[in-house]
């Protein structure tokens, strides 16, 4: 009798657990249903550019504050991953830090400029070099200049960091600075802006290019062609390297995606953009 007693009580426990589970999930179902009574609701996932990621994130946060029942998740694996996700139908919206290629457009992708931003060259704060020309930057990344001495710095090696070739930022950098020449094999390619910044923080001889939003006090942006990158010079358009940032959809956006995009381009959305970036439209 002893053993049957034990197994019975075990069974009871299991049944009890199942019932409890059902009740709880029913309760959860009801509450979420109630919450859905509000105007805008649903989930939205944004993938895409590592450069656009902080902006998308800030926009999503503000949008969720205004629409309590909307949940937006943002990831930033890279422009090309985002575009692949978009084409595969995994996400309805992706950030991009480069314009669409013709073949991408042919597949029905549509890009919307949501902001503009500067690409800045950063060095270690201890580095004496204050400014570089775009040509010097090119020669550094082509491996033709390898000593800081040659650009007005100390007698030390220049260690150049870059992004992987398939990143949108590299595309842009490659086109604008390198004129599509392959960068030197001694340039290290690091996955994200964050890793590039860390490399410069840790290495007094480093140079890297960052989206302006990633610049902090631990790295020093250098003047490019004589213009120091800061909010003022960037806003006025004096800084030479300013590029558009995009949100990309497949076909015409619908539902929540449409509402979100509409809000991003509205004055309210652009106010969020202005905190760190340039608004989509030039003044």
């Amino acid at each position: 009798m002893l053993f049957t007693g034990i197994s019975l009580s075990k069974k009871r426990l299991v049944v009890l657990a199942i019932i409890a589970g059902l009740v709880l999930s029913a309760a959860a179902f009801l509450t979420t249903n109630q919450a859905h009574a509000a105007k805008l609701s649903g989930e939205l996932h944004i993938s895409g550019s590592n450069t656009v990621f902080p902006l998308s994130h800030a926009l999503a946060k503000e949008f969720m504050k205004r629409n309590k029942n909307v949940k937006i998740t943002v990831t930033g694996p890279g422009t090309n991953v985002g575009i692949q996700d978009l084409l595969a139908g995994k996400v309805p919206l992706a950030g991009a830090s480069r314009p669409l290629k013709p073949e991408e457009k042919a597949q029905g992708l549509k890009a919307y400029v949501i902001a503009r931003e500067a690409l800045v060259i950063v060095v270690h704060p201890k580095n004496k070099v204050k400014g570089l020309t775009m040509e010097q930057v090119m020669n550094i990344y082509l491996g033709k200049i390898t000593n800081w001495k040659d650009v007005g710095g100390a007698d030390a090696p220049i260690m150049a960091y870059s992004r992987p070739p398939a990143s949108g930022t590299f595309d842009y950098f490659n086109e604008l600075f390198l004129k599509k020449q392959p960068q030197a094999p001694t340039v290290k390619m690091l996955e994200t802006h964050g890793l590039n910044r860390e490399a410069v923080v840790k290495n007094p001889n480093a140079i890297a290019y960052l989206a302006f939003a990633y610049v902090n006090k631990k790295v020093k942006p250098v003047a490019l062609n004589g213009v120091v990158p800061n909010k003022k010079t960037i806003e006025k358009g004096q800084y030479p390297v300013i590029r558009p940032l995009f949100h990309v959809t497949k076909g015409e956006p619908t539902g929540l995606t449409k509402e979100f995009l509409k809000w991003v381009l509205s004055p309210a959305g652009q106010n969020v953009v202005k905190k760190e970036y340039l608004p989509a439209k030039k003044k």
């Binding site: 694996p77 398939a166 860390e198």
Partner: protein, 350 residues
């Protein structure tokens, strides 16, 4: 008398749980059939699970190999013995016409160098640690150390990568790389601390807990009489451990090494963060600078270049690297089996 009385009461208590012997015959045929069906169902479910998991592995191999085929076909042997991976990726990405040339030698060598180095360090440190834990450590030390080792095994590899990047890499840069050295080598490779050495160190700490856990258990599982017999012959504690306990524990130790190497070969994220981000082949003719030069391992290459997968040639080449990784892991598990059966034949056979 009293004693026997109590015993019989206990027996009755236990017997009470069992139905009487007549029950052997009273259970109906349908019940018996139901039990048989139950057994069959369970048997078949287990079989199904086995089939699903083994075919899954088969299809994974097939899928990866199929994707890799076009690149392997185009490159042939060169895929394994030629260098220039990073350049090839750039060319394939920017070229208007598809470019299929790829050489994964730097990745293969990078993987073998980091894994080999880490295994060597792991064996030296880990075996010592395992002997200490299994044989010498008093409980007051053993318990916290074992808990720590287990904790170490649970830390995700990104954390190892971060710590490596924040601690190991700057340490190497500050202590081993002078400005002059970096200047001298700048045209070869940037020496910034992200290096083979950093990769080996970080990888060692990642695989060490697995090895230590398995090896400690293996040493502990050696029957006590072996050690006693050795000690009773007048052999010192230390010699008894190295000459009797370790040889007996070899299958466990080898298993631990293979487990560690399987983990090491497949590690991507942490190594991508600390070992250099360049498909570079360290040059032994540079002397000790060899260890300060960057490497990129196969698993990292897949992660680092995943954004470029939309280009067919790159995708296929990455799957080619995946195929190599897959075969290495298959090879590792086969070696494990071989070593084990060899050992059984050698020592345990009747």
């Amino acid at each position: 008398m009293e004693n026997t009385n109590r015993k019989s009461v206990e027996i009755k208590k236990i017997r009470g749980v069992l139905p009487s012997s007549e029950a052997l015959f009273s259970s109906t045929k349908s019940q018996a059939r139901w039990y048989r069906i139950q057994e069959k169902i369970i048997e078949n479910m287990l079989l199904l699970a086995t089939i699903i998991s083994s075919t899954a592995i088969f299809f994974i191999i097939l899928f990866v190999a199929k994707e890799a085929l076009s690149s392997l076909k185009h490159n042939g042997l060169a895929f394994f013995i030629a260098g220039g991976w990073d350049q090839h990726i750039q060319e394939a990405w920017f070229s208007e016409t598809p470019k299929w040339d790829f050489g994964a030698l730097p990745l293969i060598l990078g993987t073998f160098l980091t894994t080999g180095g880490a295994l060597l360090l792991t064996f030296v440190l880990g075996t010592g640690c395992a002997i200490f834990l299994a044989e010498l450590a008093p409980d007051a030390i053993r318990r916290p150390v074992e808990a720590m080792v287990r904790l170490l095994a649970g830390i995700p590899s990104v954390i190892f990568g971060l710590i490596g990047l924040m601690v190991v890499v700057p340490f190497i840069m500050d202590n081993f790389i002078s400005n002059e050295l970096a200047l001298k080598f700048i045209a070869v490779a940037p020496l910034d601390g992200q290096s083979l050495l950093a990769g080996v160190i970080v990888l060692t700490f990642m695989v060490l807990p697995f090895y230590v856990t398995v090896a400690t258990d293996a040493i502990r599982a050696v029957p006590k009489p072996y050690k006693e017999a050795s000690l009773a012959l007048g052999v010192t504690q230390w010699r008894s451990v190295t000459k009797v306990l370790i040889p007996v524990a070899i299958p466990g130790i080898v298993t631990g090494m293979i487990l560690a190497s399987a983990r090491a070969v497949g590690e991507a994220i942490a190594l991508s963060m600390v070992s250099g981000g360049m498909a570079f082949i360290p040059d032994p003719s540079h002397g000790l600078v060899f260890f300060l030069e960057p490497v990129r391992v196969m698993a990292s290459a897949i992660i680092d270049n995943k954004e470029a997968m939309s280009v067919k040639a790159i995708e296929s080449a990455l799957f080619g690297v995946g195929t190599i990784l897959l075969f290495i892991s298959i090879l590792l598990s086969l070696t494990a089996r071989l070593v084990f059966s060899w050992y059984q034949k050698q020592v345990m056979a009747k």
